[in-house]
Each structure stands twice: as structure tokens, then as C-alpha cells.
């Protein structure tokens, strides 16, 4: 299996604060990786380093599709190869849903207007929003907006997708529709890294789960290795508090 994303000794400082500490991570083609951990553990910072929305320290390296991720001319191509979905959707509010999805393929992908629209229609159908194509983002629910954001990222036909807490800003009743879309992508074989607090999703969909705390990878393994027989006490403590909370909400 080919390695698509590789982080080697990646650290990140914000001034004197060490947000990431010596991260080593590898994602193979077609693999689904979930990143879990408490707030402030560096999960988001890590995936934001992969497309250089954050500049990591020069001591480490990140390789995507055999190319080093660094500032310069090649960066745009690397970014176009990695789709990203944000917690707050970040749709372009002045454009229709359709224009949101066609913009990047037309501007960067070199697609014609007609081809970009064709691709956008297919993607919007896949995420179940095709009937809203002419509306503006603020006319859609949060769940719908996040599904558009996924379609927008997919429109560049990226080699991998990064999800940065994609359901954290959603009302509870909309979480399911977005997770379903992501699950379908996973089933289709899309390579992805998902930062999430949805433990059920992580367990069901992932090939590999990474637990982070204080800017470090504490442990990683298959879902059952992490959720059923974690080696580290920090992992077990975290899972215990999260799962008891989930049990509480489920009972209610």
C-alpha cells in the first residue's frame, strides 16, 4: 500500500508554547484515520500543518504524495491535492451553493464553466443538496452547509481529505447527516484524516485511531485496540469520561 501522508518529527511552537511535540504519523492510500483527544491537545493544529495553514517548525517534515509541504510555488498544488473541511464550514457567503463548489475547479483546476458545473452537480447530488444549488449559504441549515463544504473540497478531486471537527458546530440533530456523508466517502475509499469527538463514528469508520494529549501522540492502533484495550492510562481516562458522558446523553 502506498503512503500518501507522512509526518516525521513534526513540532510546532506558538512563541514559547509547544503545541506539537515530535509527531510521527503515516497515512496510506485509502486509509481512514481518526484523531481523538481532549480540547487543546493539538489535534487541529496537527492537521492544519498538513496543508500549511500553520507553519510547522523546521526541525520536522511533512510529505504529501511524495512532495515536501513547504512555502513556495508548489504549495498551491499540494493544497489542491488535500481537501479540507472546517468546523465552521467557511462557505463563501456572497456566492450561491453552486458557485461555491465550482470556483476552485474553474480558477485552479482549469475546468471549463460547463465541466465545473457538471462535476458540482454530481457532488451536490452525492451529498444530497442538489435541490439547493441556487440558494445562498445563509439560507441553509448548518448540516446542509457542512455537506456543501464537503462537496466544495471534493470538487478539486483531492487525493486526501482533512476534517477538522466537522460536526462540533452543529446542532445535535444535524450531526448524523454529516457523519453519514463522511462515512459514504470512507466506504468509497477516500483517504482521510478526521479530527472528531464522535467516538461511535471513530470506532465504526476508522482503520486507525490516534489519541493525542498535550501535543503528543500518546498511542495509536486499530479502533478495538484503542477503545477496548488501551495501553496508556491517559487514553483510558479520556475514553472513560467521554463515554460516560455519551451514555448519560443517550439515556436521557
Amino acid at each position: 500500500m502506498k503512503t500518501l501522508i507522512k509526518l516525521e518529527s513534526v513540532s510546532k511552537h506558538f512563541g514559547n508554547f509547544r503545541a506539537l511535540s515530535n509527531i510521527n504519523l503515516q497515512v496510506d492510500e485509502g486509509e481512514v484515520l481518526s484523531v481523538i483527544g481532549p480540547s487543546g491537545s493539538g489535534k487541529s493544529t496537527m492537521i492544519r500543518c498538513i496543508n500549511l495553514l500553520e507553519q510547522y517548525d523546521s526541525s520536522g517534515s511533512i510529505i504529501v504524495d511524495n512532495k515536501l509541504v513547504k512555502k513556495g510555488k508548489a504549495l498551491r498544488e499540494v493544497r489542491a491535492n488535500i481537501g479540507m473541511v472546517f468546523q465552521n464550514f467557511n462557505l463563501f457567503p456572497h456566492m450561491t451553493i453552486l458557485d461555491n463548489v465550482t470556483l476552485a475547479p474553474m480558477r485552479t483546476g482549469g475546468l471549463s464553466d460547463a465541466d465545473a458545473k457538471k462535476r458540482a452537480h454530481a457532488l451536490l447530488e452525492e451529498v444530497g443538496i442538489l435541490d439547493q444549488a441556487d440558494k445562498y449559504p445563509d439560507q441553509l441549515s448548518g448540516g446542509q452547509q457542512q455537506r456543501v463544504a464537503i462537496a466544495r473540497a471534493l470538487a478539486m478531486e483531492p487525493k486526501a481529505m482533512l476534517f477538522d471537527e466537522p460536526t462540533s458546530a452543529l446542532d445535535p440533530e444535524m450531526v448524523g447527516e454529516v457523519l453519514n456523508v463522511i462515512k459514504n466517502l470512507a466506504d468509497r475509499g477516500v483517504t482521510m484524516i478526521v479530527v472528531t469527538h464522535e467516538m461511535g463514528f471513530a470506532r465504526q469508520v476508522s482503520d486507525k485511531v490516534v489519541f493525542m494529549d498535550s501535543g503528543q501522540i500518546v498511542e495509536s492502533g486499530t479502533p478495538s485496540e484503542i477503545f477496548d484495550s488501551a495501553k496508556e492510562s491517559r487514553t483510558r481516562d479520556f475514553l472513560k469520561s467521554v463515554l460516560s458522558h455519551e451514555a448519560y446523553t443517550n439515556k436521557r
Binding site: 498551491r76 493544497r79 479540507m84 472546517f86 463563501f92 470556483l103 476552485a104 485552479t108
Partner: protein
């Protein structure tokens, strides 16, 4: 639209009310002090000596007259074209500045009997090829706004084929531009120019232009003081005092047949009507005759405003982007530019561009000098508006664009600027209003904008109606924009609450 009409009406009523207050206020002023308006710098009539003392033929005369009447004199410096409305609104009691008595002026103001017979003259640079007025065909002629020279030159523009008439507020700026070569000749009162060029070998008065005309002191219509002053002048002429002044200031005594030596009757208005308030400030006849002039001025104002706004927008956007995203040094320079030109008064900048740059070889016409100053300053303000607009765009919009692999250019053009524009439209419209208002400052560099044309028209007609009309035109131009901004701000506020 009816709202607009109501506002205009309200504005007009306010002007009228304010003017009447000003009028009555002026009349209540202290009787022991005579307030005299004079265009200081008008040699040898009223100017400052090297110690800053006010001296001159008319300064001596007005002091003598006041002392005969048992009163004190307070001199106020007012540009020539401003003297007419100053006497009419009773801001001053007497206007002096070698003012020619004309029938047109007598309709709106009073004069005492004349004390000097004058003509116009043509002044040139000594090295000029111009030798007579006939040589000025196709050339640029300088005059004083609303003066007898202005009236004569305007009437004879076709006959002599003057290419352009530039109007100045006094000798100093007019001569400065003549010396630089921006104008080819200066048509102005002969005694002043003979006196002024005495010790200036680079200038030469080469031709007397026989316009006739005599100078006297000017008063508001039917002012009692005019009669009193007239009587004093009669006695001073009989005592030979005024001819003594002639000798003091011109070196020779005037001939016995001139008005300097001979007593004459007080000039009376051929139309003996007392001008009431409406005839003075809202005179329909004056309005109709001066409207074409005002429209020419409006055209210049709109052209200047439009060019300055558009170029200022482009410059401002470029500066804002440099300041926000350029490497450190360039960004710092952009910030320095913005800070400096927001601190310099526009008028100062304009005067530097127009009068100082020629010395380093940059010689801009009044229009381009004014446009340059307006663009420089408007660009600085616009840059700050754009910066605020761009900074108001959430960080997520930039990140989403970058994550999609959009280039910097497309991120700005497709994502950031369209959103920023909505935010900046109200402040940009406000800035445009300011730019249009600031075009009025261009009248100091002899540019015939709306204000300049109105000033000239009111001096020629000796009636302030053109100024009121100009105010109305500015209002008609800008009030819709002001209302538009309010409308937009309200709309955006409502959307925020929605």
C-alpha cells in the same frame, strides 16, 4: 423625492434665517468703530510694510476720514471678490481696495464720490514676446476674480482670442504664476501694477487699456455712512489732502480735471429701488444671468470630483493591499504614506503642489494640480477604509480559499474583496462626498470650479445670489449621496439584527 424637496426647502429657509440674523447683528455693532474691509496686498492702496504695518493710499484716506467723523478704524483683510457680500451683509461698514464704480454694482451697493481715475494695464514678463494685447491671441491671461480687469477681459475674450482666463484672489498669486510662465499676461489696475513692478525688473507694464472708471469706497445700499463719508471727501479734496496723498504714493500731483482733485457728486443708482432681502440674496435676475457661469463651474467640479474619486479608489486599494500583505519594508512605507497624507491639510498640499513643485520642474495645470492633491489624500483615506473592510472578513474565508489552492489574486478578487466591498460602500460614499466638497478648495489655484465661478459672478453683479445658488447646487449634488449612505447603513444594521 418629496422628502428631498422638504429638506431642500428647510435648508433654504435656514439660510435665509441665518442671513437675516447676520444682517441685523451687523447693524447693532459698536458705532464708535468703523469696520473696514480691504484686500491687503493691493499696492499701493492697502498693503503691509516690512514691519507688518498696514499702509497705503486708501489706508491713509480711511483713517483721515474716520478721525474727521470722530471714529476709530478696524481693518479686516478680505479677498477682493468677498468685499461685496461683506458690505451687503454688514459684516463691514466700508470696503476699500481700488474698487471701480460701475452701474451694475450701483444696483446693489452705494459708493462715495470717486477719488482716483484709473485704467487697466497689461503686465508681462520682461523676456516675453508679448508686446501688446493683440499678441495675447491663443494665450493664457490672468485677472483678479470679479475685478474690472476680469470684466473687460471676459467681454473681449472673443475679440482678442484669449485662449483662457485664469482668475486669482489678488496680485501675489497672479504674479507668481506669471513669473513661472503659467500665464502670459496679467490684466489689472494700472496704478497698482506700476507701483508693484517699480522694483521688479523681470516684470513690465507694457500697455494701458483704456477702460475708464474711477475708484471709491463702497458701502451697503442706502447706508447713511456713505453720505457722511462723501461730505468728508468733498472737504478733503477742497483742502488738497487727497492730492497730497497722490503725491505721497505716486510721486506726482494729479491734474486738476481728475477726480483726485475735483469734487464730484455722489454716484447715484440709476434704478433707485431699495433692495429688500429677497432681491439681495435670492435675486432672480442675477440668478438667470449667472446660471450659465455656474453650470460651467459645476461641470468642472464634477469632472474633478469624478477623476479624483476613481483614481483615489484605485490608489487606496493598492495601498491597503500593500500595507496588509506586502513584505515588511513595503508595508511600512505604505503605512507611512497613509499616516502622512491623512495628517496634511489638503489646502496646504494643494498649494505646495501648485506653487512649489514648479521650482523642481513639475508644472501642473490648476486642474491636474487639484486632481493630484485630491487623489493623494483621498487615496490615503480610502486605503484605511479598505483595510478595515478586509480585516473585517473572517479568517476562515482566507483559510478556506488557501485550502482550495486558490492563488492570492483569486482569493482577493473572488472571495475577499466582493465581501469587503459591501462593508466599505457606506464609508467610501462618505469619502466621495468629502472629495466633492474638497474640490471647492481648488478655487485657490485659479481653477474655475463651481465655487470660483460663483465668487466671480457675485463680484461682477455685486450680489450674493450666485453664492446662494452654488450652495443649492452643492446640496442637490451631495444630499442624495448622504441619504444613500444613511439608507445603506440602516439596511445593514437591520440585517445584523435579523
Amino acid at each position: 423625492m418629496s422628502y428631498l424637496k422638504l429638506i431642500s426647502k428647510f435648508f433654504l429657509i435656514s439660510i435665509v434665517a441665518l442671513l437675516s440674523i447676520a444682517q441685523s447683528y451687523g447693524q447693532d455693532s459698536d458705532n464708535q468703530v468703523i469696520s473696514v474691509g480691504a484686500n491687503i496686498g493691493n499696492v499701493p492702496w492697502e498693503f503691509q510694510d516690512t514691519k507688518g504695518q498696514l499702509i497705503g493710499f486708501e489706508i491713509d484716506l480711511v483713517h483721515k476720514i474716520a478721525s474727521q467723523l470722530g471714529k476709530e478704524v478696524d481693518i479686516v483683510n478680505i479677498p477682493f471678490s468677498g468685499l461685496f457680500s461683506a458690505v451687503q451683509s454688514n459684516r463691514i461698514d466700508i470696503a476699500i481696495s481700488s474698487i471701480t464704480i460701475t452701474d451694475e454694482r450701483l444696483k446693489s451697493v452705494s459708493f462715495a464720490q470717486p477719488y482716483y481715475d484709473s485704467d487697466q494695464s497689461l503686465t508681462i514678463r520682461s523676456d516675453s514676446s508679448v508686446k501688446t494685447v493683440d499678441d495675447l491671441r491663443g494665450k493664457i491671461v490672468a485677472v483678479d476674480t470679479g475685478s474690472t480687469g476680469d470684466i473687460w477681459t471676459s467681454e473681449n475674450q472673443q475679440k482678442y482670442g484669449f485662449k483662457e482666463i485664469r482668475r486669482y484672489e489678488g496680485i501675489t498669486p497672479a504674479v507668481l504664476d506669471l513669473e513661472i510662465g503659467r500665464t502670459d499676461g496679467y490684466i489689472s489696475d494700472i496704478p497698482a501694477m506700476q507701483y508693484y513692478t517699480k522694483d521688479k525688473p523681470n516684470l513690465e507694464v507694457i500697455e494701458r487699456i483704456k477702460t475708464g472708471g474711477s475708484y471709491s469706497m463702497m458701502f451697503s445700499k442706502h447706508n447713511e455712512l456713505a453720505v457722511e463719508v462723501n461730505e468728508v471727501i468733498t472737504s478733503l479734496k477742497r483742502a488738497g489732502y487727497i492730492n497730497d496723498l497722490h503725491e505721497k504714493w505716486f510721486g506726482t500731483r494729479a491734474e486738476a480735471s481728475t477726480s483726485t482733485a475735483k469734487t464730484t457728486a455722489m454716484p447715484g443708482s440709476k434704478e433707485g429701488v431699495i433692495l429688500n432681502f429677497v432681491d439681495t440674496f435670492l435675486n432672480k435676475e442675477v440668478l438667470l444671468t449667472t446660471l450659465p457661469m455656474l453650470m460651467l463651474g459645476l461641470k468642472t467640479t464634477i469632472q474633478l470630483g469624478f477623476i479624483s474619486i476613481v483614481l483615489g479608489l484605485i490608489l487606496g486599494l493598492a495601498l491597503a493591499l500593500l500595507r496588509l500583505y506586502a513584505p515588511y519594508v513595503v508595508g511600512f512605507l505604505a503605512k507611512a504614506y497613509i499616516d502622512i497624507f491623512r495628517s496634511i491639510p489638503l489646502l496646504v498640499l494643494l498649494i505646495i503642489i501648485f506653487y512649489a513643485l514648479p521650482f523642481v520642474g513639475i508644472n501642473l495645470s490648476p486642474f491636474y494640480a487639484a486632481a493630484t492633491a485630491l487623489v493623494i489624500v483621498s487615496g490615503a483615506y480610502t486605503a484605511e477604509i479598505f483595510r478595515a473592510g478586509i480585516e473585517a472578513i473572517p479568517k476562515g474565508q482566507f483559510e478556506a480559499s488557501q485550502a482550495l489552492g486558490l492563488s492570492y489574486r483569486h482569493m482577493m478578487i473572488d472571495v475577499v474583496l466582493p465581501q469587503a466591498v459591501k462593508i466599505v460602500i457606506p464609508p467610501l460614499t462618505n469619502n466621495s462626498i468629502n472629495v466633492i466638497k474638497d474640490t471647492a478648495l481648488a478655487s485657490v489655484v485659479a481653477m474655475p470650479d463651481l465655487l470660483k465661478q460663483a465668487t466671480q459672478a457675485q463680484a461682477i453683479a455685486a450680489n450674493p445670489t450666485p453664492l446662494i445658488a452654488a450652495a443649492g447646487i452643492y446640496l442637490a449634488l451631495l444630499l442624495p449621496l448622504v441619504l444613500y449612505v444613511s439608507h445603506l447603513e440602516k439596511k445593514y444594521r437591520l440585517r445584523e439584527y435579523a
